[in-house]
Structures are given as C-alpha cells and as structure tokens.
C-alpha cells in the first residue's frame, strides 16, 4: 500500500471531489483526508465553496413568456 502525501492530494483534489478519481485513487485520497487534518479542512472548504456557488447560481425559473412560446412551438391549440 503506497501512502500518498499532501501534494498528491492537492494534485488530485478536484478530480476526487468531482467523483472522477478512479477507485484506487479515491480510496487513497479518502484515507489520507480522513487522517490528515490539514487536507480534511481544505477538502471541506472546497466542498462548501462549491455548494455555495451552486446554490447561489441555480434556481432560475423560466419566464412565462418562454413557456408560452414553447407551447406554441409544439403546436398547442390556443
């Protein structure tokens, strides 16, 4: 079992948080982040930052005029 250091965690952190690291790499990163306070704080920060960005940039509702235009597009009578 290879032990990875903090620099390796940094290199792979975004891919890991994106759920894109392969299974072996994910396990290594999880184990390291679990054990290393510094990396855990960093990973938490990036997760929370991403959640804030998503929450603040989502939740738009399409305007009624657009809904009406799409109904016409689909040939709804009226």
């Amino acid at each position: 079992m290879s032990e990875i250091d903090c620099n390796v965690v940094l290199e792979r952190l975004w891919a890991f948080l994106d759920g894109e690291a392969d299974e072996a790499s994910s396990r290594e990163l999880e184990a390291h982040i679990e054990a290393c306070l510094h990396c855990r704080e960093h990973a938490d920060f990036e997760r929370r930052l991403r959640a804030i960005i998503k929450a603040k940039c989502s939740g738009e509702r399409a305007p009624l005029a657009l809904r009406a235009a799409l109904d016409r597009l689909l040939g709804d009578p009226g």
């Binding site: 975004w14 960005i53 399409a62 005029a65 689909l74």
Partner: protein, 213 residues
C-alpha cells in the same frame, strides 16, 4: 437570433400525439435548468430565452432520432451548447482570454490561509466563506471568460461528469479538465476580489453594512 415563429411542420414528419406528449414531458422537466444555464452563458434574459427556444426547436426537429431511455438531459444540453457556440462565434468579439499568471488551483483557500487579517479575526475559512455567501456569485461566474465558463456551468451547476461534458462540447476529456480547472481558478480569483472589497468596507471607518443596529 430572431423570433422563432414556427409550426410543427418543420419537423418534416407527422408528429404522433405520443411523441408530442413525450417531448412535452422533456420540456417540463428540463426547461428551468436549461434556462438557468442559458442565462449564465448569455448573461442576458432575452438572449437566454431565444437560446432555450432555439434549443427546444432543434430538439423537437430531431426528436425522431432521439432514443428513448438515453440521457435526455445531456442530449438537450448538447443541442443548447451547439446553438450557443454557433451564436456566440458569430457575434463574439471577445478573444479567448489567456491568463499567464500561475495562481494555483486553490486560490481562495490559499488566500484564506495567508491573510493576516482573517487569521486575527479567528477562523479564516469561515470568514471567507461567509464573504462568498454575501458576494454576487452569479456576476462573478458571468465574468469568467469563455470557453471556461461553459465548463464550470456544466460541471459545477449541472453536475455533469467529465465524460458527459466531453460529449456535450465535443472535446476530449483532457480539454474538459483543463477548461474546467482554469474556469474554477478564474472564478476563485474573482470571488476573492469580492471578498476583499467586502472586507475593506467592513474595516473602514463607516459601520459594517449588515449588522443590525
């Protein structure tokens, strides 16, 4: 893009009532999400409405070739992105911005760590995140240049996988990653500007804006 006054005949074949019902269900499910992404892409409500209308028109025309059970959301986003990129290329005068500065991937976290002011105030990460909460994140995102903004929208707002984004944008996965990471770096740098400005506001002689009296 002008008004899209079209009739269903554009589809070429007679649409069955069943097709129409299935397509209407897709519209209902994905309209708000596509509109939100279109708004972040075009930065303009009228342009976003045009883009979404164009997207559904194109989707409806090619609905006959869409296989039920496949990833409808990714299919719609591919149509949206193609329409956006076509329109964007035609109207764009913005050169692809190149940032030479190597700022590292985790700009905000590094700034929180190195900020003397945040350290003195207690928990630097908490303070910085609360400033980001107060920041105009939408505006910051909209200032991230293309093609990096599109990658951030697809990954961080829409939560598509790298592979799905590669298919949507028709680029290799490696390019998805480099665009996404650059977009995120750019966004973090912009958010730091907001956080820092908010900080100066609070530290100045004037009272802090959001504290109840």
């Amino acid at each position: 893009m002008g008004a899209l006054l079209v009739t269903p005949e554009h589809r070429g074949v007679e649409a069955s009532a069943d097709d129409r019902a299935r397509f209407e269900a897709l519209v209902a499910e994905h309209l708000d999400g596509l509109y939100g992404s279109a708004l972040r892409l075009t930065r303009n409500r009228a342009a976003a409405e045009d883009l979404v209308q164009d997207t559904f028109l194109k989707a409806w025309r090619s609905f006959g070739t869409f296989e039920a059970g496949t990833n409808a959301r990714a299919w719609l986003y591919k149509i949206l992105m193609n329409a956006y990129i076509d329109g964007y290329r035609r109207s764009s005068r913005l050169p692809e911005e190149v940032d030479q500065e190597d700022i590292g991937d985790f700009y905000l976290y590094a700034k929180a760590q190195e900020s003397e002011q945040y350290r003195k105030a207690g928990d630097p990460e908490e303070i910085l995140l609360s400033r980001v909460m107060d920041a105009d994140v939408k505006e910051a995102l909209e200032r991230v240049p293309e093609p990096f903004r599109a990658a951030v929208i697809l990954a961080d707002l829409e939560e598509f996988s790298y592979k799905e984004i590669a298919e949507i944008l028709d680029i290799p996965v490696g390019t998805v990653m480099s665009r996404l990471y650059r977009g995120r770096r750019h966004l973090q740098r912009l958010l730091w500007d907001y956080a820092r400005r908010a900080g100066y506001g609070r530290d100045a002689a004037s009272p802090p804006p959001k504290v109840p009296s």
